[in-house]
Symmetry: C2
Subunit: 155 residues, 2 copies
């Protein structure tokens, strides 16, 4: 077997593997990306108003913080489904996800877990309604967002 043919075969097999993984639950890569973007849109929609409150830009509203934080937590747990293999920029162009997500998978997983843990704590602290604690935990959660975006999201 010549080298070129071997490359084609390996590429084909990898390509099938990639497609199979993305379609394991019946979703097309484009649908996975749409889902992924939707998850982060809802995270942002709920995280930003907490930020505006802890920064004093809008009046503090404990009930609103608790509600928003619950959505951030729920969505942090929904996020991993949006990163199935074969949904990277090599397959779907319109994405800010970097290929490093899949080439440095365990590092990405660690950062995802950090985010989930801090988001869960934020939801817990939010139930207490204690503004100072919420402010501190908001900061910690935001750090986990930044840490992941810095390495794994295109600017």
């Amino acid at each position: 077997m010549n080298k070129q043919l071997a490359m084609i075969l390996v590429g084909g097999i990898l390509g099938m593997g990639v497609l199979t993984a993305a379609n394991a639950a019946g979703q097309k890569p484009e649908e996975v990306v749409e889902y992924r973007k939707s998850v982060y849109t809802i995270i942002g929609w709920n995280f930003k108003p907490i930020g505006a409150m802890v920064k004093g830009e809008v009046p503090f509203d404990a009930a609103a913080v608790a509600r928003h934080a619950q959505y951030v937590e729920m969505m942090s747990k929904a996020a991993p489904e949006g990163f199935s293999k074969g949904s990277g920029p090599d397959v779907v162009k319109d994405t800010e996800a970097k290929p490093e997500i899949w080439t440095k998978w365990s590092e990405f997983q660690t950062k995802m877990t950090n985010f989930q843990q801090e988001a869960t704590k934020l939801a817990e602290v939010a139930k207490s309604g204690k503004e100072a604690d919420i402010k501190a935990q908001f900061g910690k959660t935001a750090e986990t967002c930044k840490a992941c975006h810095k390495e794994f999201r295109k600017d």
Copy 2:
């Protein structure tokens, strides 16, 4: 005041009202639409696999149903925020939301409440793990989706 000037003034005032309403929480109309689409993307992402299971297309998985149903319920409660005034097709072109949502607001609200109630029941029934009950409640929930889409969503 001539009629043309009056029309311009009224149009301007209405226009401002529309923008103010959409920006009440600091979001631009485009952001509201993006949020709205995201909510329904996540509803679909979670509702479809339940459908595939109740139709017998994929093996029934009680834990997966419970998880998906919880997301459908949470998102049904998150949906109303995505329909703030001034986020209709007169302001944002790329939307399937019909203007009737805002001109028949109370009817829309009723259909939204129906969906939320059936989605909540689905999440409750899903916890029981009883396949027949889940199947029946999935059907009832799907009906509320269709009822609203038929009248308030473009084909």
